[in-house]
C-alpha cells in the first residue's frame, strides 16, 4: 500500500503535463467534433453543389432545360477557355467539370433520341462523376417521359420534378447518416494518441523513479516483498490507464450523444479499453530499461514514441494513404490494429473480424510483458556477473 500511495504522490509532480495533454485532447475532440458537424452539412450540400463551366452552343429549349437544371443544382459559370486552360482549372479544382452542349443538340435528339453532351472532369474525383451521373439521369428522364408519350416540354417538367423532390431528398439523408457514423470513427481514432501521451507522461517517469537503482535497492532490502512492490506499481499504472481511458471515453461520448450505448459505441469503447490495457503492458516494457539517462530523456522519448505510434498506426494519416512498407512496420504496433479494428467496427464487419484486431493488440501487450520480464532477467544476470 505504501508503494501504491507513493506512486500517486509522485504522479502529482507530473500533473501539469497531464493537464496539458488533457487540454490538448479536449481541444482535438472539440475541433474534430465541430469540424465534423460542419463537414456533414458541407458534404451533404457539396455533393449536389459544384462550380461548373457550362457552354451552351445549341441554345434550344432542351439545352436551356439542361442548363437550368444544372443551375438549380450547382454554381454555373460561362467562360471561354481553351481546352488546356479548362484542364488546368479542373486539375486545380477551381471547377468540378466542363460541360459543352453541342450545336444541333436538340435537332439530333428529335431525329434519333440521342443526347450527346461533352463533359470534361477529373475521373479521380467523385464530384465529376457525380455531375456526369446527374446529366445522364436528367437526359435519361427526359427520354423516358417522351417515350411514355409526353411532349418535350412535359417531359422536361416531369423530369425536373422527379429529380428534385425524390432523389436528392434520399441522397441527402443517406449522406447525413454516413457522416454521423464517421464522426464516431474520427473521434475514437485519435483517442489512443491521447491515452498514450497522458499515461506515458504521468506514469512512466514515476515507474522509472521507482526502478532507479538506488530506490530499487533500498526497497529490495526492506521488509516489503519485491512481488508486492511490482504489483503495487502495476496496480498504480492500471489505475492511471483506466482513469485516463474513462476520462477520454466520457469526454468523447459527450460529443457523440446519439451513439452512446449503440453497438458501434460499445465495440469502439471495448477497442479503446483493449488498447489502454496494452498501453499499460507497454509501460511495463518501457520501464524495464530504467536508467538515469532514460529518465532525463523521457520528454523527448515520450514524444517520439507517441508520434511514431500515431503515424505508423494510421491515427494521424489514414491507413489508405500509408505506403506498403510503412504499413508493414505499422502492423507491429497496437495503434495499427486499433485503427483497423475501428475501421471494421465502422464498416459493420463481423465480430470475429473485429475480435481478431483486439487479439493482435493483445499479442503486442503479451510481447511487451514477456520482453519486459526478459530484460529484467538480463539486467539481473549482468548485475550478478
Amino acid at each position: 500500500m505504501q508503494v501504491f500511495k507513493a506512486f500517486f504522490k509522485l504522479i502529482k509532480n507530473y500533473k501539469i503535463g497531464l493537464f496539458l495533454y488533457f487540454g490538448l485532447c479536449l481541444l482535438m475532440t472539440v475541433v474534430v467534433s465541430s469540424n465534423y458537424g460542419d463537414d456533414a452539412e458541407d458534404s451533404a450540400y457539396s455533393n449536389v453543389s459544384r462550380t461548373l463551366i457550362v457552354k451552351d452552343n445549341d441554345n434550344s429549349e432542351l439545352s436551356k432545360a439542361v442548363v437550368d437544371y444544372l443551375k438549380d443544382q450547382h454554381d454555373v459559370e460561362a467562360h471561354d477557355y481553351t481546352n488546356d486552360e479548362i484542364k488546368d482549372l479542373i486539375y486545380s479544382e477551381f471547377y468540378t467539370a466542363y460541360i459543352e452542349i453541342p450545336k444541333g443538340f436538340m435537332d439530333k435528339h428529335l431525329e434519333d433520341d440521342a443526347l450527346t453532351i461533352k463533359t470534361l472532369y477529373d475521373t479521380a474525383k467523385a464530384g465529376g462523376s457525380f455531375i456526369s451521373l446527374q446529366l445522364d439521369s436528367f437526359t435519361g428522364g427526359v427520354v423516358r417521359y417522351e417515350n411514355a408519350g409526353y411532349s418535350l416540354s412535359e417531359a422536361i417538367e416531369n423530369t425536373n420534378k422527379s429529380i428534385k423532390t425524390e432523389n436528392f431528398v434520399e441522397l441527402g439523408k443517406k449522406v447525413e447518416d454516413d457522416n454521423s457514423n464517421s464522426k464516431l470513427y474520427s473521434l475514437f481514432l485519435f483517442l489512443p494518441y491521447g491515452i498514450m501521451t497522458m499515461v506515458l507522461w504521468c506514469a512512466l517517469p514515476v515507474i522509472l523513479r521507482f526502478n532507479s537503482k538506488e530506490i530499487k535497492d533500498r526497497t529490495a532490502i526492506s521488509a516489503i516483498l519485491p512481488v508486492k512492490r511490482t504489483i503495487a506499481l502495476f496496480m498504480g499504472s492500471t489505475v492511471v490507464c483506466i482513469a485516463v481511458y474513462l476520462i477520454l471515453l466520457i469526454l468523447s461520448s459527450c460529443f457523440l450523444a446519439d451513439f452512446v450505448f449503440t453497438r458501434k459505441w460499445f465495440l469502439s469503447a471495448l477497442n479503446l479499453l483493449v488498447f489502454s490495457v496494452v498501453n499499460g503492458a507497454f509501460l511495463v516494457f518501457f520501464s524495464s530499461f530504467s536508467s538515469e539517462k532514460l529518465l532525463k530523456a523521457k520528454d523527448m522519448l515520450i514524444n517520439i514514441i507517441t508520434i511514431a505510434f500515431a503515424f505508423l498506426g494510421g491515427i494521424f494519416v489514414p491507413l489508405e494513404l500509408l505506403g506498403e512498407d510503412v504499413k508493414n512496420v505499422g502492423r507491429l504496433l497496437p495503434t495499427y490494429w486499433y485503427a483497423v479494428g475501428l475501421e471494421k467496427i465502422e464498416n459493420g464487419s463481423a465480430l470475429s473480424d473485429i475480435a481478431s484486431c483486439f487479439g493482435m493488440q493483445a499479442v503486442f501487450g503479451v510481447f511487451c510483458l514477456a520482453a519486459g520480464l526478459a530484460i529484467s532477467r538480463v539486467h539481473l544476470y549482468l548485475k550478478e556477473n
Binding site: 505504501q2 504522490k9 530506490i215 529490495a220 521488509a223 516483498l225
Partner: protein, 315 residues
C-alpha cells in the same frame, strides 16, 4: 556475553573470471561498531550487497541474528537499516514524505510510523526542512536525509556504506556523531569506508580487506600491534651527515631511518621513551633541530605495511 549479529563464513563471489570475495569470513557481535576498511574495489560493497541479499554468491554462508539470510527473509530485513553510498531518495517527495515512505516499508502502523519519522528527523536535525524537496537541500543535509530514511524504522543492525563521501567537514562530524549516538542507543553498526580517520574515530573493531580477502581483523590496538612499526619519530633538522644517520639507525628499537627534505623519520619497533633517546642523541652531538615529535601508527600504516600500498588513492 553479547550475541552474534552478523556471521559470514567462507563467502565466495565471482564476476566471471574476477574473484570479488575469496573465502571471506567475519563475525560481528551485538553493540559493535564494525569498520570494514579497504581500498576502492576491495570488495566492501560486494560484501554488503551479499549480506543484504541484493547479490547472490557462489559459495559460503551468511547468518544474521543467528539465522540464515535469504532474499525472502522479511523478518531479518526488517531488523536492518541501510544508508547507502549514493543518496537514495525521491526528488518528487518532501523530506517528511521521503522518510515516511521508507519507514512505511517496515512499519505499517500509521501512528507509530509518524512518531518514528519525527524522531528520525529530529535525530539527524532536519526537522526544520521537513517540507523541503531534496533538490533544495545542501549536500550535507541530503546525506542526513539519506540517513534518516535508513534508520527511521529503528533497526538493530545499521549498515553505513561510505556515508560521508563528498560531504563538508561540518556535516561529516555531525554524521559521525549521529552514528556514535545510534550505537549508544543499542544499534550494531557496520561502517564501510576508505577514510581510515573516520574508522579510527568510530569503530571498536576493524576488518581490513583487499582483493576480496581479509587482511587483518581486530580492535584498533590489536591491528596496530600486528605491525612492526609502533612509533615514528619525526625530526625537522638541517644538514645531517650519513654518519649521523647511521648512528641513529644503531639506536635501540630503531629499525628504519629516512632523511628527506630536511625531515628525519625514525621508525621504532617496541620500546619506551624512544623520542627521549633520539633527542638525547641530538643534544649529545650538538645537532640543532627545529622540532621533534612522535607519531603513533595509523590504520593506514597497518594497511601499508601489510599490503605495501596506500589505503586510499592519492587525491
Amino acid at each position: 556475553m553479547s550475541g552474534t549479529v552478523v556471521e559470514i563464513n567462507n563467502l565466495v563471489k565471482r564476476y566471471k573470471e574476477l574473484i570479488a570475495l575469496d573465502n571471506f569470513s567475519f563475525k560481528i557481535s551485538e553493540g559493535d561498531v564494525f569498520g570494514l576498511l579497504g581500498p576502492n574495489g576491495s570488495g566492501k560493497t560486494t560484501t554488503i550487497n551479499c549480506l543484504l541479499s541484493l547479490l547472490s554468491y557462489d559459495k559460503g554462508e551468511i547468518k544474521l541474528f543467528g539465522e540464515k539470510m535469504t532474499p525472502s527473509r522479511r523478518d531479518l530485513k526488517s531488523r536492518i537499516g541501510v544508508v547507502s553510498q549514493n543518496v537514495a531518495v525521491f526528488d518528487e517527495l518532501t523530506v517528511y514524505e521521503n522518510v515516511d515512505y521508507f519507514c512505511g516499508l517496515y512499519i505499517g502502523d500509521k501512528k507509530l510510523r509518524k512518531q518514528y519519522v519525527e524522531e528520525a528527523l529530529e535525530f539527524v536535525d532536519i526537522t526544520d526542512f521537513r517540507k523541503f524537496y531534496p533538490k533544495k537541500l545542501s549536500g550535507g543535509l541530503l546525506r542526513r536525509l539519506n540517513i534518516a530514511c535508513g534508520i527511521a524504522h529503528k533497526p538493530e543492525l545499521i549498515i553505513f556504506d561510505e556515508p560521508t563521501v563528498a560531504v563538508d567537514p561540518q556535516s561529516r562530524n555531525k554524521i559521525l556523531e549521529g552514528i556514535a549516538e545510534l550505537n549508544k542507543n543499542g544499534a550494531t553498526i557496520i561502517y564501510t569506508s576508505h577514510y581510515m580517520e573516520e574508522v579510527e574515530q568510530l569503530c571498536n573493531r576493524v576488518l581490513i580487506m583487499d582483493k576480496g580477502k581479509k587482511i587483518a581483523e581486530g580492535t584498533k590496538d590489536e591491528l596496530k600491534g600486528m605491525i612492526k612499526n609502533t612509533e615514528s619519530i619525526v625530526v625537522n633538522v638541517r644538514h645531517l651527515s650519513d654518519e649521523t644517520i647511521n648512528d641513529i639507525k644503531g639506536l635501540h628499537h630503531v629499525y628504519d631511518v629516512k632523511y628527506m627534505n630536511n625531515t628525519l623519520t625514525v621508525k621504532c619497533s617496541g620500546g619506551k621513551h624512544n623520542i627521549t633517546h633520539v633527542s638525547e642523541y641530538f643534544e649529545q652531538h650538538n645537532i640543532d633541530y627545529d622540532r621533534i615529535y612522535s607519531e603513533l601508527p595509523t590504520l593506514n600504516d597497518v594497511f601499508l605495511e601489510i599490503t605495501g600500498k596506500e589505503l586510499r588513492d592519492k587525491e
